[in-house]
């Protein structure tokens, strides 16, 4: 459960999928690198759990979706066959993108043995914000236009990745790599009625009130959705109908 191959020059790492995210980030930090995924440093969640079950990356605004971090994988299908997907380079369009198909699919198709991940330079100047917006009952980022109106221009929008629905308001937990525009935004929030904002210093951990658990979807949620072609894909990957059961 560790790093199999770290290439600092290429900013890629091959890891055992059962390695914990926190341990990986800790080891990468020694090389001034980071996986572009925000994660609770005290959690023991494995990379496999993160990439197979989670849907949201709180650093999405800076580094993209969870899927964007995974370049390649070695997988065991439910029928026992082993496959390799992707390539150990940041760009490859050879064949269908089976890596993206498998990441986020729970355990319905395959278990990952190893993952090849894209890394980024570690930035020390991280700012963490917690912002509470009153009276917004929508739960969708897509629908959260009032926030950007307050922000007065698209440069000032922080890509929200986590919302918590309270009884009478929507709490927005935001996070962004330190850019001056976000400081401007923070000032605007501080001046706006009904809004409060807190900011920790650079190089410090997230605000003590930061709720790590609430942004992570429970793995059971992945079983609830229905998609066209879902069963067809199951049969394509495991023709005899084999299934992994939840661990």
């Amino acid at each position: 459960m560790n790093i199999i191959d770290l290439s600092c020059a290429d900013q890629t790492v091959v890891v055992d999928a059962e390695m914990s995210v926190a341990n990986l980030q800790q080891e990468l930090e020694e090389h001034s690198l980071i996986l572009g995924v925000l994660h609770d440093p005290t959690s023991s969640m494995s990379l496999s759990d993160l990439f197979m079950h989670s849907r949201h990356n709180m650093w999405q605004g800076s580094y993209g979706y969870l899927r964007d971090q995974v370049l390649a994988g070695n997988w065991r299908l439910a029928n026992g066959k082993i496959i390799d997907t992707g390539a150990k380079v940041v760009k490859s369009v050879a064949g269908y993108d089976l890596t993206r198909l498998l990441i986020g699919s729970g355990l319905r198709f395959a278990k990952c043995n190893t993952l090849t991940l894209r890394l980024r330079p570690l930035r020390r100047e991280l700012y963490y914000y917690r912002i509470t917006l009153a009276n917004y009952l929508t739960y969708s980022h897509y629908e959260l236009q009032p926030m950007s109106a307050i922000a007065d221009g698209p440069q000032h929008i922080i890509l929200a990745s986590h919302f918590k629905l309270r009884k009478d308001y929507l709490e927005v937990v935001e996070l962004e790599v330190g850019e001056r525009t976000t400081l401007d935004l923070l000032r605007k929030f501080n001046d706006a009625p009904g809004l409060t904002a807190m900011c920790s210093r650079p190089d410090s951990p997230p605000h003590p009130d930061f709720d790590w658990n609430s942004w992570h979807y429970p793995s059971s949620a992945i079983n609830d959705f229905a998609l066209p072609h879902f069963e067809q894909l199951c049969l394509t990957l495991c023709p005899n109908g084999e299934r992994f059961t939840s661990e």
Binding site: G64, Y96, T181
Partner: protein, 474 residues
């Protein structure tokens, strides 16, 4: 062929092309090594017409392929003999801009660069920027998962597609992805991106928009050799500088640009140039530029030219982005390759490219996305010379095999198409290929939609590297 009048009825006879003169432009994409004349080209004007055309062709058991501007470089948008091209250029509406959500909804025929022009007033842009962005269309970008210089920082097309509305081979319409975050658990959207039009045809695409940066720094750095330029790229990456673009051009490419209409003042005496672009807020750009300049001097930069105005920056990029066109002057035909290696192997692969070009006695120029390790050797040749055409293909195979040996990929952004169909088995094992074929057959059971495109037709690796075919009609 009773389907022809049916298509005519859907789109109007003026938008159904059947004459040899009209079809000529559709017999190849920008990779002219492969040609096949379609039986007809149909040019629908709206999404419903596309769906209706697909239903007619599907019912008639006629194969068909969607096509945008035809700028593809892997022979991906060709159709076998007797088949029909569905041209999507007339579906060119920007349907919606939601600046607050950084979202734009477009039809597949919208030209890439038009999106950034359209949303600039909101302080936004569409980040993926293939060299052909002034003409290539979003439908093709999605089908090929197109890249470009800025993809080093911002990612390829798939990173920017949130949702797609598609028509399947049987005419049914589905929506994959999510307009807010692109994620829906099982990522059919991601499977579709880069599937080369073999799973479905895009009708509508929801794209991410990216804020225009507050500040941009663009440097053109001259080096004595490509190897020095590659060393500089390694130094920049090692320093932790998150450049937006790291582009290298060798001397042959510089000369071609400076001899063309696209001349941009590149140093003719340099062995190679490196274009470094850094973007962000002013403080960040200034701090990173200082670090970058240290890298330049440590790796033997001969000169550094900064683009101090937006006009100078535009001129510099004009030279880089039109270099492919400029290289077209060197010979009647040009073969643009697309391979990827880990960036730390760039020097090694470039030495190998030189060696191969010398051995085959083929003029070769290089311009590449160095940050991504994505190389684009350009071979100049005469397509009417069968022997030279074969040499070009052989040289290409050797280089791509070397990319694989160095831990890379046979394509970073051009796609497999017909060009590399025979090479896919060298990158993946039989099990992975089998899954891809089964997925293809699941979505496209009769193989009517861009049949077998981007997937191997069979044959092992050894056999694969000895295939030379320009005839795709069968």
């Amino acid at each position: 062929m009773k389907w022809l009048p049916q298509l005519s009825k859907i789109v109007g006879k003026e938008h159904l092309l059947t004459s040899a003169a009209d079809l000529l432009a559709y017999e190849s994409d920008a990779l002219s090594l492969f040609r096949c004349e379609p039986a007809a080209v149909v040019l629908p004007n709206n999404q419903q017409q596309v769906v209706d055309c697909v239903k007619v062709l599907s019912a008639a058991n006629v194969c068909f392929t969607a096509r945008g501007a035809g700028t593809g470089l892997s022979a991906g948008a060709l159709v076998p003999k007797g088949g029909v091209i569905i041209g999507l250029n007339r579906l060119n509406k920007i349907i919606e801009v939601d600046a607050a959500s950084r979202l734009v909804v477009v039809e597949p025929g919208v030209v890439n660069a038009r999106i950034s022009q359209h949303v600039a007033k909101h302080g936004l842009r569409y980040a993926p920027d293939p060299a052909s962005q002034s003409v290539c269309t979003i439908g093709g970008n999605v089908a090929e998962n197109a890249g470009g210089p800025m993809c080093f920082r911002h990612g390829s097309t798939t990173n920017h597609v949130r949702q797609v509305k598609v028509v399947l081979a049987d005419g049914s319409v589905e929506t994959w992805g999510h307009p807010a975050h692109g994620n829906d658990g099982i990522d059919l959207r991601g499977l579709f991106c880069g599937s080369e039009g073999s799973l479905a045809i895009a009708l509508e695409v929801h794209l991410n928009l990216t804020p225009l940066p507050e500040a941009v720094s663009t440097s053109l750095v001259a080096f004595a050799s490509v190897e020095n330029a590659c060393d500089c790229v390694s130094a920049i990456v090692k320093e932790g500088i998150e450049a937006a673009a790291l582009e290298v051009m060798d001397q042959q490419a510089i000369q071609a640009v400076e001899d063309s209409l696209y001349r941009s003042g590149m140093p003719r005496d340099a062995g190679a140039i490196l274009i470094v672009e850094i973007e962000g807020d002013s403080d960040y750009v200034n701090s990173q530029q200082i670090l970058a300049e240290d890298c330049f001097s440590r790796t033997g930069a001969l000169s550094i030219k900064m683009a101090n105005t937006s006009a100078q920056r535009a001129l510099l990029w004009k030279g880089r982005k039109n270099a492919g066109g400029a290289l077209g002057q060197l010979a009647p035909d040009s073969y643009v390759m697309d391979g990827v290696v880990p960036p730390s192997k760039l020097s090694e692969i470039m030495r190998f490219v030189d060696e191969v070009a010398e051995r085959y006695e083929l003029p070769c120029a290089n311009l590449f996305h160095a940050g991504d390790g994505n190389i684009h050797p350009h071979f100049a040749y005469d397509g009417s010379d069968e022997s030279q055409s074969k040499d070009v293909e052989d040289a290409g195979c050797e280089i791509l095999q070397k990319c694989l040996n160095l831990g890379g990929s046979i394509t970073g952004e051009h796609g497999v198409g017909l060009e590399k169909q025979h090479l896919l088995a060298a990158q993946y094992g039989a099990e992975e290929i089998d899954i891809m074929l089964r997925i293809s057959n699941g979505f496209n059971p009769q193989q009517l939609l861009n049949p077998n495109r981007g997937l191997p037709l069979g044959g092992g690796c050894a056999e694969a590297f000895h295939r030379h075919s320009r005839d795709v009609s069968r």
